[in-house]
């Protein structure tokens, strides 16, 4: 979240999404932005959660170990339930994807932080990896039979020139909808934070009555923070489960 300077007349809701070079001169010379820095931090946090969580390897887990175990088992059962028996192969991929998105969403809620999942480039990159993987998996398992996916069995042959483009567009719209959903949720949440935070500053600058009135947007931001925590988990979950559903389609072709 960006911090608005007191007395500034306009609301700069989108300035928080601008990338800046991080890590001083070194970062500037290789265009290393704060988004990349947050990605590295997220990766390090995920790895240390698993490493330090599982280090005690206790039979009765402590809090951190319980968290690591729940994370592992939750995603594992999601893969197994959604994809089927073959889902085990894709577990590392889905686990990585889920936690990369989740930590991106959650880290973005910290003050002075940056939400890398609020950039369509990042979310579309992740979705493109998903769609390329599902297509490669489907081609590898089913070969040329994969292309029957675009023409449902039993449809009249005369409708083929209409059905096939529609089905191809529908297939290609998957990564777009996957990336737009995550990106739009994150941007909308952070813009709302910024707008209500600006209201606080503007009202507080308007005198004694304004300071009292500023409690309103402050309360809204507190509620919004809880809501955004929910959205952070939900969107990471949706991203992972849709990946599982697409992988299920790729493995089973319907």
């Amino acid at each position: 979240m960006g911090i608005l300077a007191a007395g500034e007349p306009s609301i700069d809701a989108l300035g928080q999404f601008v990338l800046h070079p991080a890590l001083g001169m070194l970062g500037r010379s290789v265009n290393f932005s704060q988004g990349n820095l947050m990605m590295l931090i997220a990766g390090a946090l995920i790895l240390s959660l698993l490493y330090f969580g599982m280090k005690p390897a206790a039979i009765v887990p402590g809090r951190l170990q319980a968290l690591a175990e729940i994370a592992y088992e939750g995603i594992y059962s999601m893969c197994h339930d959604q994809i089927g028996h073959e889902g085990k192969k894709f577990f590392p991929f889905v686990f990585t994807l889920f936690f990369f998105v989740l930590f991106g969403n959650l880290l973005g809620l910290l003050p002075f932080s940056f939400t890398y999942t609020s950039h369509i480039g990042v979310t579309f990159g992740l979705a493109a990896v998903v769609i390329v993987l599902t297509t490669v998996v489907a081609l590898k398992i089913h070969g040329w039979h994969f292309f029957t996916y675009f023409f449902p069995a039993g449809a009249p042959k005369a409708l083929a020139p209409l059905i096939i483009p529609v089905e191809v567009i529908s297939y290609l719209s998957r990564p777009v909808s996957l990336s737009i959903r995550l990106f739009a949720n994150m941007v909308a949440g952070h813009v709302m934070f910024e707008v209500f935070a600006s209201f606080i500053v503007m009202l507080a600058a308007a005198g004694t009555l304004g300071v009292i009135g500023a409690a309103g947007p402050l309360a809204i931001n507190v509620v919004l923070m809880g809501f955004e925590l929910l959205v952070a988990f939900l969107q990471a979950y949706v991203f992972a489960i849709l990946t599982c559903i697409y992988l299920h389609d790729a493995v089973h072709l319907h």
Binding site: G84, L162, P165, V166, E167, I169, S170, L172, S173, R174, V176, S177, I180, R181, A184, I241, I245, H252, H254
Partner: protein, 104 residues
């Protein structure tokens, strides 16, 4: 004896359920089943919107690209935007329509 017993039990269960409903102890089911998981109605609405929009965007992009490649402006753009809309409807139908019986 045994039969009377179960009959009593089921009537007790139904009376308990009715009483709980009257007192508002059981929350009304707001979630609905989509793709085998529970989503709230707001979630369904958002998903439907995103599905339709993304298919339209892909249709627009494909039409635009093919037009500039084949120099057929604006014919293919028009055709593919319409097909994108159709694909959006197909996406929504696949999301909310009746499910085909599982093959396995």
């Amino acid at each position: 004896m045994n039969e009377r017993r179960t009959g009593e039990d089921s009537s007790f269960e139904s009376r308990l359920a009715a009483a709980r409903k009257k007192q508002g102890l059981d929350p009304a089911p707001v979630a609905q089943e989509v793709n085998g998981k529970q989503i709230s109605s707001m979630g369904v609405g958002l998903r439907v919107g995103v599905e339709m929009l993304s298919a339209l965007v892909v249709g627009l992009g494909l039409g635009w690209y093919l037009d500039s490649w084949l120099h057929t402006k604006p014919l293919l753009l028009i055709v593919f935007v319409l097909m994108g809309g159709a694909a959006g409807i197909a996406n929504v139908w696949r999301l909310l329509g009746p499910k085909p019986p599982k093959p396995d």
